[in-house]
Each structure stands twice: as structure tokens, then as C-alpha cells.
């Protein structure tokens, strides 16, 4: 975990409200694990918005280029999107625990909803390149304009299926439909599930995992003030019997085995 001031190599809009940012960091490129995140400062010139913003590491490119894939949803991400090449930002990372990789014998199914694709790309990179796993990726988006990074995913050699809610691309429906179908296929071996997306989607993934008795890891979001384990802001309710009332997303997560979380209140 270090604080680095990095200079942007690129910061481009690649979909409706979706941007891709890239900067060089030898340290992150060599030390970061898929699922870990960064706390990004929005610039020295203003105190509003005040807090850093958490972003997953989207992937590593060309050896030492770190990518962030982000949705412009509010003031902070809007400020980020205004940054140009050569502008500098301060980033703290890598933070959090990252995904537990599957055992060599296991298959991995990655399930992403919308911008939940962000950390899964990095995971797919790691699984394909370093470990040679068979990787299946299911992605769901509201509409085709938000479907991004597909070619790059395909280039990794994963099995990719898509849904859009309006049917403008891929299968019409939501991404958990794909998961349901896949798990229904009697013949195939039990996969490990890795999911990131909106809470209702994660909840459904967690239920499926329980129903099918699968290991599943979910990457959660939470309102974070620090990302460093010192503010205790990012609480999520732990499942009954975990021995503690809350987990902290930045410190205990952001990736959790889905059984650790109390999905009733999420």
C-alpha cells in the first residue's frame, strides 16, 4: 500500500458515461491482485468533492500500465472525466484483499453486472495468462451503449456471453439468467463463481451459490471515507454466526465469500 502521484497516459470515454483511464505504475502492475482497489484523489485544486474515490483495478496492460474503468455517476467521477493526458492524480493502493483464485482443477465463472465488469477483467487476465484456467464470463448491461471492453475480453480467450435488458445486444434479459442456465446444465463440473455488480444481482448470485453448493466470491461496494480501515465507515452486516456484527469492505473485502454476508439487509 503506497501513495503514488501518477500521470495519466489516457482518459477516454468508451461508452455511455463509461470511461477508461490509464497510467503507469510499476508497483501496482507487479504487486496488485485482481479484486484489489485504489483510492483516487480528485485533484489538489479543490476540496469539493472532499473524499478520495474507490475504484477497482481494471487490468494491467503493456507491462506497467494500470487501467481503471469507471462510470460517471456524480461530481467525483465527473471531475475525473475532465482530466486530460499528462494530468496527475494521487492514488493509494493496492488496497483490500482481492479474489481467491480457483484451484488448478476448478473452472471459474465470472458474473458481471454493468460496471461490475471492472475488476473481473483483471481477474480474467490473471486466470488466462498466469494460470491457464478455462474461464467463462457472463456480462449483463442495461443496453448496448454500455457494453464495453468486449473485444479485449475475447482477446483474452475467455468464453463470453452477454445479456442486455433491452435486448439491443446479446441475449435479452439479465446476467443471472445466464448463470441459472449454466448451473442447470447437468453435465458440467461445478465452477467457482466470481461476481461483481449491483447488490440485487450479487444477492441472487449468492442464493444460487448456496442452492447449488458452490464456492462464490462477491466484490462489494460500500461508502468509503478512507479505504484504509481507519474510519469504520464501510460496514456491511456479517451473516449470522460469523462472530462479529459487521465486516469492513475496505479491510475485510472488498471480495467476500458470499456466505459471510447478511444478504437480508444489503
Amino acid at each position: 500500500m503506497v501513495e503514488e502521484t501518477v500521470s495519466l497516459e489516457c482518459n477516454q470515454q468508451i461508452g455511455t458515461n463509461i470511461w477508461l483511464m490509464e497510467f503507469r505504475s510499476a508497483l501496482l502492475a507487479s504487486h496488485a491482485k485482481p479484486g484489489q482497489f485504489l483510492m483516487v484523489h480528485l485533484g489538489e485544486r479543490t476540496k469539493d468533492p472532499l473524499l478520495r474515490r474507490p475504484f477497482s483495478i481494471h487490468g494491467i496492460r503493456d507491462g506497467d500500465k494500470v487501467m481503471i474503468l469507471y462510470n460517471v455517476v456524480g461530481a467525483g467521477t465527473s471531475l475525473l472525466s475532465a482530466l486530460k493526458e499528462h494530468d496527475t492524480i494521487s492514488s493509494i493502493g493496492p488496497l483490500g484483499n482481492g479474489f481467491t483464485l480457483p484451484r488448478p482443477s476448478e473452472r471459474a465463472v465470472l458474473v458481471g453486472g454493468g460496471i461490475g465488469l471492472a475488476p473481473l477483467f483483471f481477474l480474467a487476465q490473471a486466470l488466462q495468462k498466469d494460470h491457464g484456467h478455462t474461464v467463462t464470463v457472463f456480462l449483463g448491461f442495461p443496453t448496448s451503449q454500455q457494453v464495453v471492453r468486449i473485444q479485449q475480453l475475447k482477446d483474452l480467450g475467455v468464453n463470453l456471453s452477454l445479456t442486455t435488458e433491452d435486448g439491443s445486444l446479446g441475449i435479452k434479459g439479465v446476467v443471472t439468467d445466464l448463470l441459472h442456465q449454466r448451473l442447470g446444465n447437468k453435465g458440467t463440473t461445478k465452477p467457482v463463481i466470481y461476481a461483481c455488480g449491483p447488490p440485487p444481482m450479487l444477492k441472487e448470485v449468492a442464493q444460487k451459490a448456496t442452492a447449488f453448493n458452490l464456492r462464490s466470491y462477491v466484490s462489494l461496494e460500500g461508502y468509503m471515507a478512507c479505504g484504509l480501515g481507519i474510519c469504520l465507515g464501510c460496514a456491511v452486516k456479517a451473516a449470522h454466526g460469523e462472530g462479529k456484527p459487521y465486516y469492513y469492505v475496505c479491510h475485510d473485502g472488498p471480495v467476500f465469500p458470499s456466505g459471510m454476508i447478511d444478504w437480508e439487509v444489503l
Partner: protein, 307 residues
């Protein structure tokens, strides 16, 4: 080369090598930020507020951002004083800066009980009493808004410890001077001004409060001008040292508080945004004093020109 300026200050008998302290609840249990700098270089470290027994804290969302501010309703999530002494103190004792425990009780007796337990612990330099936490149902802020109750809590803690007692005041009162004077008379060796302001925020999309607890405490740069005014007011009212805090982000902010008369300052929310803030303030103050030919920081404290 000129000698380095002397930044040391005295807070009710507690000697600090510089006036920069980390604020309770914003620096964890004291060692979390060691990857960023050596906490031994700070004036003192105030750890996360402690209660007699562990508390789970409030349900999430616990934080919400506001313009230049942060609302929190952590709800005093903490491991309890015993676990703190056993699990955290051994590591903290290695830090070469005084550790100050921030304590919160549901009753006056609990405050005394905690003071007693801390009394025997080596490495704890002082006790800061939180009578101003807005995020819990009982006690907390209620103790801090009434001068008599504030004095009673203070007295009870003072009677149960030989360590310097610092009382952290709430800003949510008509006249903070009265409270400050009351705790001074009750034996407080210093006061910290200020804790957070009661505030709330609403998510218009869901039409719900942004905090599950509805109400939270506001901190950060937004409150700085109000906090500065309150420090100014308390400095005029009491003789004991005043520790200033509220929205301090850099050494310039720290200087504003010192100039109005704060003997030391605390860094809170800023730790979240730049974990090196506290140490950068130490360096900034050192450089400022060198530049301005100030040999001793006490020449700055209270040095506001008003004519």
C-alpha cells in the same frame, strides 16, 4: 545552519514535541497508517473512541459526503477498553509519542470505571473525555450540552486518574464558554474544541436519509470557520490549554487555530484524504517558523493581531 524552531508545547503537564495530534476516530488504533509515516514523529496520538464494552456501531450507510464535509454516524464502533489494552496497547507502547485514549461512557460511572482501568496502563499519556458524540442514543452529546453534567463527568474522571484529563466539547450549544468554564472548574487540564456538528443529508432519489441513523456528525473543511470561532471564544474564557480542531487540512489551517490561541491542534477527516496530513503539518509548521524567523511555536500561539 540556523537551529530548528522549537515546536514543543505543554498540554496540562503533558509535553508534546510538536502541537500536531491525530483526532479520535480518524486514526484507527494508532498504527494503521505506519506504511505512510512514523507516528512517533507526531505530538500525540488520540486513538479511536473507546467504551467500557465493545460496541458494534450503527448500521450502514454510516457516512455521506456533503459540500467540503463528511457526515458520519459510525456509532462508536469499538473493541472495548479491555481488548484495546490487551490487543492494541503492546504495539502502541512502542510509538515514541504520547498515546491519548478517547473515552465514552453511557453513564457517569462508566467514565470513571474506564479512567481507572487506563490509570495503570503505561504509555497512555492522557485521557480525552468524549462528552460530545452525536452518534449514540444515551449519554454522549447530552453530557456535553449541560454545564453541570459536563462538570460532573469531568470531576468523576479526574478523581479516578492521575493522568491529565482533556475534555472534548460539543459545538452544538448556545454558549460553549459556559461549558468550557464548568469543566475547567471541575479539574480538566485541557479542552478539545470541537467535536462534530449535528447534520443530515437526504437522497432525493430514494427520499431517504443518506445515513441509516438519519442524523450524523459533520466534520471536515466545511466546519473550519465555525470551529475556529469556537476555539477563539473558548481561549478567551478559560486558562487551561485549548486544543483546536475542525477541518484542518494543512499547516495553514493549523496556523489559523494556533494564531487564535489553540495550544495544539488535531487532524481528523484530513487523515482519510491524505494519510500523511499530520506529518506534513509538522513539516509545514517547521518550515513556516524557519521562514518567519520564529524560534519557538509559542510565539505564534495566540498571536492574532486584532488592531
Amino acid at each position: 545552519m540556523a537551529a530548528l524552531p522549537d515546536l514543543s508545547v505543554d498540554i496540562g503537564g503533558l509535553k508534546l514535541k510538536n502541537p500536531v495530534i491525530t483526532a479520535s476516530g480518524t486514526f484507527g488504533y494508532g498504527t494503521e497508517l505506519t506504511p505512510f509515516f512514523d507516528p512517533s514523529l507526531l505530538g500525540a496520538i488520540i486513538v479511536k473512541g473507546l467504551s467500557l464494552r465493545a460496541m458494534p456501531g450503527n448500521p450502514p450507510p454510516r457516512i455521506a459526503e456533503t459540500p467540503c464535509g463528511l457526515l458520519n454516524s459510525i456509532g462508536f464502533a469499538n473493541i472495548g477498553i479491555e481488548a484495546f489494552i490487551e490487543e492494541k496497547m503492546p504495539l502502541l507502547a512502542k510509538i515514541k509519542a504520547p498515546i491519548i485514549t478517547n473515552i465514552y461512557g453511557h453513564t457517569i460511572e462508566e467514565y470513571g470505571e474506564m479512567a481507572k482501568r487506563i490509570e495503570k496502563v503505561e504509555g497512555i499519556g492522557a485521557v480525552e473525555i468524549n462528552i460530545s458524540c452525536p452518534n449514540v442514543e444515551e449519554g454522549g452529546i447530552a453530557f456535553g450540552t449541560d454545564p453541570d453534567t459536563a462538570a460532573a463527568v469531568t470531576q468523576h474522571v479526574v478523581n479516578n486518574t492521575t493522568k491529565p484529563v482533556i475534555v472534548k466539547l460539543t459545538p452544538n450549544v448556545t454558549d460553549i464558554s459556559t461549558i468550557a468554564k464548568a469543566v475547567e472548574s471541575a479539574g480538566a487540564q485541557a479542552v478539545s474544541v470541537t467535536n462534530t456538528f449535528l447534520g443530515m443529508a437526504v437522497d432525493i432519489a430514494t427520499r431517504r436519509p443518506k445515513l441509516a441513523n438519519m442524523v450524523g456528525g459533520l466534520s471536515g473543511p466545511a466546519i473550519k470557520p465555525i470551529a475556529l470561532y469556537l476555539v477563539h471564544k473558548v481561549v478567551a474564557a478559560v486558562r487551561i490549554p485549548v486544543i483546536g480542531l475542525g477541518g484542518i487540512m494543512d499547516y495553514r489551517d493549523a496556523l489559523e487555530f494556533l494564531l487564535v490561541g489553540a495550544r495544539a491542534i488535531q487532524v481528523g477527516t484530513a487523515n482519510f484524504i491524505n494519510p500523511k496530513t499530520a506529518i506534513e503539518i509538522v513539516h509545514g509548521l517547521t518550515d513556516f517558523c524557519s521562514r518567519e524567523k520564529v524560534s519557538n511555536i509559542n510565539q505564534i500561539i495566540g498571536g492574532l493581531k486584532t488592531m
